[in-house]
């Protein structure tokens, strides 16, 4: 029955796999080293991982140059799809990972970083996310997603605290359910079209004019559920606060950025043709989801007492904000999504890193979570520089110009206005205002209250080390001087998005 497979090697365009293969090789390499020599310093692993991620980044640059000349590339039985979206999101994924890895070099000892597995899993995860974004094949998306997710569950659990196990279990179980949603959705689409490639599915649907609309909607619902989990859209967001709280601050920061951008790219690929198909339901549902996801977590963030949990909710809200781009579906909106996320990467990484450096090894008595607001009271007196930098990130998150995230918000709201979604734009604006409260609340604690920890500012930089400071410095510079970077970034992103046909 099976005919002999004979495919010319050059048509496979194996090169398209290179960016994913680099971290995989790196991961295997690390595991192999571990086989031979135990108890190597974690700094060695960190640098090694960094090296591979850098290589990965380099290969992406190479690809983007190729993209500029040749346009979208297909490869490996047309499974791989290297278009602007894929490249942009990989830049973010790899770039964020690059900034994340040095956070392992803390001054306090956290034992997860002493395992070589940690770094191997980390590299696998990167590869998983890269696969996820660089294809429009539902199978490969699934595999990428699961590879990354399984690695992520483990990484969370490695933090080795009761709360992190709880977080991992919750995340894992819900992830499994989401995987079920995903495959069920995929099955429905497959049943309807006989294909698992998004562009072919779109072609089939458009050919028969969305004849089986109810079934298509069933598929869409399950896909939305699965991606909604990844993107933490309400009501699929419930894992996020707990997982962020349970995971280490650095991991939480990472989670707020990388998995989501991968999810956004999939959502863009998945919903782009549906949004443009003129199905009213799609618009309404996405509109409602976006609005609810922006608003509800915002309101919940108001009442949090722990900064990390607040940031978790705020991240959900930001995701909802950005999800608007998928709803609007214009080139400007899609560019805004990437612009927003790049800027968000710097700011959010910065703010979570700030939590990370103030992380104590053990919870002090009378403190129920790692980063309650009260801990930061009066910080301006005890640790003025740390407080200032933290305030900077908060202002950026709140969208105060000229700090990084403002430009993202600006462009995103502008795209909503230009897309005719004036009311949505207003809702976005008002949500930013509500969000202002909880960001400012931290500033209020830091700048306007009396310190509770005595005049010793050490508690705020317990965990600080050169590499952490460097990362925070980079994040701060990225946040403050975003003004300069916005234009090149915007032009770069717009041309990539536009040339990918979005």
């Amino acid at each position: 029955m099976l005919s002999h497979v004979n495919v010319p090697l050059e048509s496979l365009n194996i090169a398209t796999l290179v960016p994913m293969l680099i971290p995989i090789i790196g991961a295997l390499f690390i595991l192999v080293i571990d086989l031979f020599k135990k108890d190597l310093s974690k700094s060695m692993y960190v640098m090694l991982s960094l090296l591979f991620v850098l290589l990965d980044f380099g290969s992406l640059i190479d690809f983007s140059i190729q993209f500029n000349t040749n346009g979208t590339m297909l490869g490996y039985f047309d499974l791989m799809l290297v278009d602007g979206l894929a490249l942009l999101s990989q830049f973010i994924i790899v770039g964020a990972s690059l900034l994340f890895i040095p956070l392992a070099l803390t001054s306090k000892r956290f034992h997860e970083f002493s395992y070589s597995e940690f770094f191997a899993l980390f590299l696998f995860m990167i590869a998983g996310f890269q696969f996820m974004v660089a294809t429009d094949n539902l199978i490969l998306i699934f595999i990428g997603l699961e590879t990354a997710s399984l690695a992520l569950y483990t990484l969370i659990a490695l933090h080795n605290r009761t709360k992190s196990f709880e977080a991992a279990v919750k995340y894992f179980t819900m992830g499994a359910l989401a995987a079920g949603f995903y495959v069920f959705g995929a099955m429905v689409f497959y049943a309807l079209t006989g294909s698992v490639e998004i562009h072919q599915m779109a072609a089939v649907f458009e050919a028969d004019g969305f004849a089986n609309l109810p079934y298509i909607l069933v598929g869409v619902v399950f896909m939305l559920g699965a991606l909604g989990f990844k993107l933490s859209l309400v009501p699929f967001h419930t894992w996020a606060p707990d997982v962020y709280e349970g995971a280490s601050a650095s991991m939480a920061g990472y989670m707020s950025i990388v998995p989501k951008i991968a999810g956004f790219v999939v959502a863009m690929r998945m919903f782009e043709f549906l949004v443009h198909s003129g199905i009213v339901w799609m618009d309404v549902i996405l509109y409602a989801t976006v609005v609810i996801t922006m608003t509800a977590p915002n309101i919940w963030a108001l009442v949090q007492t722990d900064v990390k949990r607040m940031l978790a909710y705020s991240s959900i809200s930001h995701a909802g904000f950005v999800m608007a781009a998928v709803l609007i579906g214009s080139t400007q909106a899609n560019s805004a999504l990437f612009l927003y996320w790049v800027l968000f990467t710097f700011t959010n990484l910065g703010s979570f890193s700030m939590l990370w450096i103030s992380r104590q090894k053990n919870l002090p008595a009378g403190q129920s979570s790692d980063h309650p607001y009260t801990k930061f009271a009066g910080m301006i007196k005890t640790a003025p520089l740390v407080a200032t930098v933290m305030a900077l990130f908060m202002l950026s998150l709140a969208g105060i110009p000229p700090f990084g995230l403002f430009w993202g918000k600006l462009y995103m709201i502008s795209s909503a206005v230009a897309g005719g979604y004036i009311v949505l734009a207003l809702i976005m604006a008002l949500n930013s205002a509500i969000a202002g409260y909880y960001y400012v609340k931290l500033i209020v604690y830091m700048f306007m209250k009396e310190p509770v920890h005595g005049l010793e500012g050490k508690v705020y930089s317990m965990n600080a080390s050169t590499s952490l400071r460097t990362i925070i410095g980079i994040a701060a510079i990225g946040t403050v001087f975003a003004v300069i970077a916005v234009n090149p970034l915007l032009e770069f992103i717009t041309s990539f998005v536009y040339n990918s046909g979005y």
Binding site: I400, P401, L410, Y411, L426, L430, G436, V444, V486, N487
Partner: protein
């Protein structure tokens, strides 16, 4: 230097603030005074170099920030913004100089210098986004000043101030983005340049919506009734310096923005909303004056009086004629000087007695005669006595609006009555009568440090009341070009007739693009 004088004005204090982190805390105040003197001298030089006969923008600077999206670093000033900038640098200088014993003096000075950057930036920006950047950024230092050095309710007050204005300005931002989009539609490229936007003729329906969006942002800042309730808290809790700068400069951002944005961009909407806004202005004037009369805290009296006076400014602005708008701009300066001075004066007594309740005082005129004299002069200026600074502005504002509506102006004119009622009764409670409270018996009179700030303000208040011409002429020229532009752009017959035509005046920007 002239080519970049505005940039120097904006970034000199910012740079100084950053360097200020290194300055030893004992020298912080001296450092702040030195920097702000330099800044003030530069701003005076700006006036010197300013050509009062040119009605358009001067000292323009342009540098692309996000050219792909039409955002530019575009600066320029005309007669309207010039004096507010000078006033901002004046008040920063006097404010720092008059700082008394302050905890964390260094932080205060640095914050004030940052604040100065944002203030100058707002008034010098000709790009909507740049304007917005400074507009929002100005909230942060103020938040800190109120929140860190304020009274018992300082956190509530500062957060309320921040969130209230922040919310308003975000809605304004949506309006700006929509405006930019309309411009994009009409011309095919993005631009946030205010001067470019002036060229756009919009259909009335768009104008109304955009006007409303901008209005919310500006109205909260002004603050207009019913959005004013953050102000009493902010003033009530802020330290003296915070109140001074808030009242003198920050509130002016709102009314300035009306003139810079709302009027020339949406002349028809401005005409359409003229009466509703006039009604709000009248409520501001009378209602707030009555509320001021009911206050027990002398600082709250001055705070509410600010709202009341801002009502007159708003009314003058929406007179839509040269007299009214010129008057309102002049009143911005006047109110800045006078309310700034009044807050400084309240600060003087607060420093001595640590209370602002009028019932605690009484008979201060005999204990502190010099203080009472300066307070009296400023109070009379606030009440709008001729030959003092506020009268010129109030007179012109009311005169201007009288062309549009008689009965409205009559109602608004009660400002001079109700204003006298609360001011005089407050003055009577605090300064007249016998000294009943023993704590007041031996209060020292106003000292040199305090006089340093108050004497110049008194001189200005009198000088500009007697001879407003040096300021009035440049303002007048710029306002004339705005009014001419509005008349030219107006599309509804109502607006055409309400906004006077000025023959032979140069129109700032010819309207070229039209949105249909």
């Amino acid at each position: 230097m002239l080519d970049h004088i505005l940039s120097i004005l904006i970034f000199l204090p910012a740079l100084a603030a950053v360097l200020g982190f290194v300055v030893h805390k004992d020298s912080a105040k001296a450092y702040g005074i030195a920097v702000s003197i330099i800044e003030f001298v530069v701003s005076l030089y700006l006036w010197f170099a300013f050509d009062p006969n040119v009605s358009g923008m001067q000292f323009m600077e342009s540098l692309p920030i996000v050219p792909a999206f039409g955002v530019n670093y575009l600066l320029g000033i005309d007669g309207i913004s010039l004096f507010i900038i000078i006033m901002a640098s004046l008040f920063t200088m006097l404010g720092i100089a008059s700082l008394g014993e302050t905890k964390n003096m260094k932080n205060m000075v640095i914050t004030l210098l940052f604040l100065q950057m944002t203030m100058v930036g707002v008034f010098a920006a000709l790009d909507a986004i740049l304007f917005y950047v400074f507009w929002e950024l100005s909230l942060v230092p103020m938040l800190y000043i109120i929140g860190a050095w304020g009274g018992p309710l300082r956190i509530y007050a500062s957060v309320k101030f921040f969130l209230y204005t922040f919310t308003g300005s975000l809605i304004m931002l949506v309006g700006m983005l929509f405006m930019a989009y309309l411009y994009y539609q009409a011309t095919g490229h993005w631009s946030f340049s205010i001067l470019e936007w002036y060229r756009l003729i919009l259909p009335e329906s768009y104008q109304l919506w955009l006007f409303a969006a901008f209005f919310i942002g500006f109205a909260i800042k002004v603050p207009m009734f019913p959005f004013h309730t953050w102000l009493p808290y902010a003033h009530g809790q802020a330290p003296t310096i915070g109140s001074v700068i808030l009242a003198a400069v920050l509130l002016k951002m709102g009314t300035y923005a009306f003139i810079r944005f709302s009027l020339p961009m949406f002349p028809d909407a401005a005409t359409f909303f003229m009466f509703p806004i006039a009604v709000l202005a009248i409520i501001m004037i009378i209602y707030t004056a009555m509320v001021a009369y009911a206050q027990e805290d002398i600082k709250q009296v001055v705070a509410y009086s600010s709202v009341s006076h801002m009502g007159v400014i708003v009314l003058g602005t929406f007179a839509l004629n040269v007299e009214g708008i010129t008057g309102s701009v002049f009143l911005m300066i006047g109110h800045g000087i006078v309310s700034g001075a009044l807050f400084l004066l309240v600060g003087v007594i607060y420093d001595r007695r640590h209370t602002k309740l009028m019932s605690e005082f009484g008979g201060l005129a005999s204990v502190m005669p010099r203080y009472a004299t300066i307070f009296g002069i400023m109070m009379m200026a606030s009440v709008g006595l001729p030959l003092l600074i506020n009268f010129v502005g109030e007179f012109l504002s009311l005169l201007g609006f009288y062309q549009q509506s008689h009965i409205t102006t009559l109602l608004a004119g009660t400002a001079i009555i109700v204003g006298a009622v609360y001011m005089l009764s407050a003055f009577k409670k605090a300064f007249f009568g016998e000294v009943t409270n023993e704590k007041n018996r031996n209060l020292p009179d106003i000292n040199k440090r305090e006089l340093v700030a108050l004497i110049p303000l008194t001189i200005i208040a009198i000088w500009l009341g007697i001879y407003p011409k040096p300021i009035l002429t440049p303002i007048n020229n710029s306002v004339e070009s705005i009014v001419a532009l509005m008349h030219e752009k107006a599309i509804t017959p109502e607006a055409k007739s309400r906004i006077p035509a000025l023959e032979g005046k140069i129109i700032m920007q010819k309207s070229e693009a039209e949105v249909r």
